[in-house]
């Protein structure tokens, strides 16, 4: 009777627990840690393949990305990109972020990858983005608080003109922030939202919003990422007030539980 109960428990657990795909070991890792990813390509163009190669890239969709040093050419992947069989349609690959991309921990925010045949004749979809655990705090002109947010969270975007790149960014007095949200297909959701900026430090301005309150995705869609910039004023050489904007940056929502 006891064995039967254990068996039922095992079957129920197997049905209800949805395995993460891909999975990572360890579950969280910095850009300097060795991590093993395992991916199940069932249902993709790589299902049934007898060997697989990884095509890996850093910082997808946020700029400052690099290709993995093991990628080789699309029609001739290097042998260093060959993945290890980990079961039917399952492949694993071990790497260290800083070595793989030749970038510093401060530069490496996230990565993505796909699985392909050596000659590029078949491939899986992109799997991205997966975030490195940051090792150090890097002050930037545009910063989001908290550093990782879901679409239901209070999101505060911040502008610190100390780290402005252009003359306008260094001189502007921010008045508002403009936020544009996109779904998982890359389609814009609704109209851009312009929110008032408030001073929160000697050189810092902030603006807050709740994505799921301000934006409603289409049926069957979800909020996937947003872009934001700050708008403000500067005085031109003639003393006339001119409206300017900062550069824009992109943030991908983290799926929360």
């Amino acid at each position: 009777m006891k064995k039967l109960l254990y068996f039922i428990l095992l079957v129920v657990t197997g049905i209800t627990v949805k395995a993460q795909n891909p999975s990572f070991s360890p579950a969280t890792f910095t850009a300097e840690d060795e991590v093993t990813l395992t991916i199940d390509v069932t249902g993709t163009g790589m299902a049934g393949a007898v060997e697989a190669y990884i095509w890996i890239f850093s910082n997808p969709d946020i700029g400052g990305g690099a290709d993995g040093v093991t990628n080789g050419n699309w029609t001739n992947s290097s042998n260093a990109a060959k993945m290890t069989a980990a079961g039917t349609n399952k492949w694993s690959f071990k790497f260290i972020g800083t070595t793989m991309f030749g970038q510093s921990p401060a530069q490496l925010k996230s990565f993505g990858f796909l699985v392909k045949k050596k000659d590029g004749s078949s491939q899986s979809p992109d799997y991205k983005p997966y975030f490195f655990d940051p090792l150090i705090f890097t002050p930037t002109m545009l910063r989001v608080f908290p550093a990782r947010v879901g679409s239901d969270d209070v999101v505060t975007v911040n502008f610190d003109k100390t780290y402005g790149v252009t003359i306008n960014e260094q001189r502007m007095t921010p008045v508002s922030a403009t936020v544009t949200v996109f779904d998982e297909t890359g389609a814009q959701v609704g109209s851009p939202l312009t929110i008032n900026a408030r001073s929160t430090g000697t050189s810092i301005w902030s603006a807050s919003f709740i994505p799921s309150v301000s934006f409603t995705p289409g049926a069957g869609r979800r909020l996937n990422k947003f872009r934001y910039k700050f708008n403000g004023t500067v005085l031109d050489p003639g003393g006339v007030t001119t409206t300017v904007s900062s550069s824009e940056t992109e943030v991908v929502f983290t799926t929360m539980q």
Binding site: A27, F145, G150
Partner: protein, 178 residues
């Protein structure tokens, strides 16, 4: 002459000793036995939690930044949105957890469920409150019991990365009884 000095010194010592004994006598005479009051009935946490509560404070914490000692760890979001309109009612049934309702007004929905039943992990020393409505449920952690000098209900909601289970954000809410 010499004998007179010795006598004066002896008198001074006797006087000092007498004063000390007198002071000690007054000190100890002032002590009276204190009667310990009755401890009374054990505090009823369920009763103290029940009732209608209004949100008074909301703090957002970047748990990952806190863990790593980064700057910008937390933000008081109470006035950023109309959080103070949010009402939570916890009703008792036979002295134990019963039904609940949430009335957000214009506040963000810090608890998504509108009504249902609530349960606790431990009836005497509850730590986690589970709010259930049909198949949906939400868990909130008790940050402090509204008993004794503190009459605020403190709840904490955690937000974890669905992929890794890592705690990323927490929200600490303080409520005042209505």
């Amino acid at each position: 002459m010499c004998l007179k000095i010795i006598k004066t010194k002896r008198m001074k010592i006797i006087l000092k000793t007498s004063l000390l004994v007198f002071a000690a006598a007054i000190f100890f005479a002032a002590c009276t036995p204190v009667e310990h009051k009755e401890l009374g009935a054990p505090r009823n946490i369920m009763e103290s939690i029940s009732g209608t509560w209004k949100l008074t404070k909301a703090i957002q914490v970047d748990e990952d930044a806190s863990k790593k000692g980064f700057p910008f760890k937390e933000l008081d979001i109470t006035t950023l949105f109309p959080y103070t309109n949010f009402l939570l009612t916890l009703n008792l049934t036979n002295g134990g957890p019963g039904t609940f309702t949430t009335t957000p007004g214009s506040s963000p929905r810090i608890i998504k469920l509108a009504s249902g039943n609530w349960t606790v992990d431990n009836i005497e020393y509850p730590k986690v409150i589970t709010l259930t409505s049909g198949a949906a449920n939400e868990k909130v952690t008790l940050g402090g019991y509204p008993v004794g000098a503190s009459n605020a209900l403190k709840l904490k909601v955690e937000r974890k990365d669905a992929g890794t289970g890592k705690l990323l954000i927490s929200y600490s809410y303080e409520f005042a009884k209505q």
